[in-house]
């Protein structure tokens, strides 16, 4: 059995989610190869070669792969993937965009967002916004799978010494082209990788009030998230959204401030180790999952909390 893991990167840096994906591959067992498809992504391929447990890195360097356009990357993965028993990618926006296209090209069903490996062909994944866990078996010759990063502890970034092999294959479907990208800038830790997450909801009332959460987050070294209500109301950008349709987080500590706790929000954070809820409505559903609940006005409680930690 040989497993192909698709590296998540921006042509410069290997994204941490790749390490969780390699961890899932290690649980399946077998040789692990990593594919870096990009343009001028040499440093990423070198970083991938050092990952513990990786035995080979395939570096496909071509202008067509520069922006991870699925029309170009998916045929490459499908072509290389024919020699593998499993093809894995992180369930990031890139992985979700590319992998189903690969599965269809190989004419196999895909398994999305696995949270555990039961055996080489059987996996667990959440359905219905995390309200049920399905155990799914695949009889496909090539198993195409996306991995929920929070379900697996990352493997070490050092310790491997894989050979890097250049892949010449160029696929350019010319059905799509990249126009522009607008990335939100932040000095705080990345939401999906942070040990502590502080999130605000509709109770924050406006975007300006998020400064209270930023102050608290900076003191704790935490990332800041938000509920859909806060994003839809325009308080914060949408890449901060935690939930079924946003990001899935599982930090050591999740502090929910002014968030009622709708099913869709809980789907994104209920695997956090410790959950704290601060809400003035003591009937809010968030208190049913919170380890520590504080019924209080957030505008008094959050500044006080910032002073005391």
């Amino acid at each position: 059995m040989t497993i192909l893991v698709i590296a998540e990167h921006d042509n410069k840096v290997l994204a941490p989610a790749t390490l969780n994906t390699v961890a899932a591959a290690a649980k399946i067992g077998g040789d692990i190869h990593v594919l870096v498809a990009g343009q001028g992504a040499g440093p990423v391929a070198e970083a991938a070669a050092k990952i513990a447990g990786v035995s080979k890195v395939l570096n496909a360097d071509n202008a067509a792969y520069a922006h991870q356009l699925p029309e170009n990357v998916a045929p490459l993965v499908a072509e290389l993937g024919k020699n593998y028993s499993h093809i894995l990618a992180a369930a990031t926006s890139n992985g979700k965009n590319i992998l189903p296209r690969v599965a269809a090209a190989l004419d196999v069903d895909q398994i999305s967002e696995i949270i555990s490996v039961e055996s080489a062909d059987t996996f667990k994944r959440p359905i219905y916004a995390g309200n049920a866990i399905a155990t799914v078996q695949s009889t496909a010759a090539i198993k195409v799978i996306t991995v929920r990063a929070t379900g697996f502890d990352p493997v070490a970034t050092e310790g491997g010494s894989a050979a890097v092999e250049a892949v010449g294959a160029a696929h350019d479907a010319s059905t799509s082209s990249f126009i522009s990208e607008e990335l939100a800038k932040s000095d705080r830790p990345e939401l999906t990788a942070a040990k502590i997450v502080v999130s605000g909801g509709r109770g924050m009332q406006n975007g300006d009030n998020f400064k209270h959460l930023y102050a608290l987050a900076d003191k704790l070294g935490a990332a800041v998230g938000a509920s859909r209500a806060a994003v839809d109301a325009g308080f914060v950008p949408n890449d901060m959204q935690v939930g079924q349709t946003g990001k899935i987080v599982a930090p050591q500590l999740y502090i929910a401030v002014g968030i009622s706790g709708a099913i869709q929000h809980l789907a994104g954070m209920k695997d956090s180790k410790v959950i704290v809820a601060i809400n003035k409505d003591e009937e809010a559903p968030i208190f049913q999952v919170a380890d520590y609940g504080l019924v209080a006005d957030l505008f008094e409680a959050v500044p006080e909390l910032e002073k005391l930690v």
Partner: protein, 249 residues
């Protein structure tokens, strides 16, 4: 141009689902069913394209049980012109659905196909991408903005770090994200009118598509329950517990 919209009948997003005692699935008997929220956004986008004069005809398609006709009628009441139901009683995988949609695309030849980014029951997020692969079209997934100009469409996509804009040659596949638009409600006169709009019923056999699957669900369980927490009385007590009891700060 012709726009094809795919909609799915799913358990209503407000329902708290329960796992069956025999672990064969979730209990959907007597549970409220609705159109998948992302599909509502897809229908709304198509209707807006028609109102702008970009789209000339909206065909809405659903694959599922006979009762999915209710969701197709809803889409017709929202502004779709006609509907197609591919009737199948089984639970189909995303690949099977994508193959059936490909057959419908071949038949209808739409310039744009709009789907939701994921269904809130299976949470797969696969069908649109798979349909794009099978048809060889470009894909604009997780769209928050769609602008058709000439023979291409510019799609702004929600990605992990922010937003990305790509240009796709038509025909193309677009999947909707939450922020693409705010779906409208169907008015009573439109619901009455929708009853008279054409609804064609097909079968996978008639489309010549095999729905065999390589995935098998062995069991469905309830997630591990969290143990009940405590309510603290003050911020000081909260900090004390986080430091000494939970040891997370």
């Amino acid at each position: 141009m012709k726009v094809l919209v795919a909609v799915k009948r799913v358990v209503d997003y407000n329902v708290k689902v329960r796992v069956k005692a025999d672990n064969s699935g979730v209990d959907l008997a007597n549970v409220k069913m609705s159109m998948n929220p992302f599909c509502e956004i897809a229908v709304e986008e198509a209707v807006r394209l028609k109102e702008k004069g970009v789209a000339t005809e909206i065909v809405v398609v659903s694959i599922g049980p006979t009762t999915a006709q209710e969701q197709l009628r809803t889409a017709l009441a929202l502004g779709a012109d006609r509907a197609i139901l591919v009737e199948s009683a089984e639970d189909l995988t995303s690949l099977a659905v994508a193959k059936l949609l490909k057959a419908v695309v071949d038949k209808e030849q739409p310039q744009l196909v709009i789907l939701g980014k994921q269904a809130i029951d299976s949470d797969n997020n696969q069908t649109g991408q798979m349909l794009a692969a099978l048809s060889g079209y470009g894909q604009g997934t997780f769209a928050s903005k769609v602008e058709v100009s000439g023979d291409s469409v510019a799609v702004t996509r929600e990605i992990d770090g922010g937003a990305q804009t790509v240009s796709l040659k038509l025909p193309a596949i677009v999947t909707t994200d939450l922020r693409l638009n705010e779906p409208r409600y169907a008015s009573l006169p439109n619901i009455m009118k929708a009853k008279k709009k054409p609804l064609e019923v097909l079968t996978p056999d008639a489309l010549g598509v095999s729905t065999a699957s390589t995935n098998k669900t062995l069991k469905v369980e309830a997630p591990a329950a969290r143990s009940a927490g405590v309510k603290v009385k003050s911020v000081a007590e909260l900090v004390e517990k986080l430091k000494n009891e939970a040891k997370v700060i």
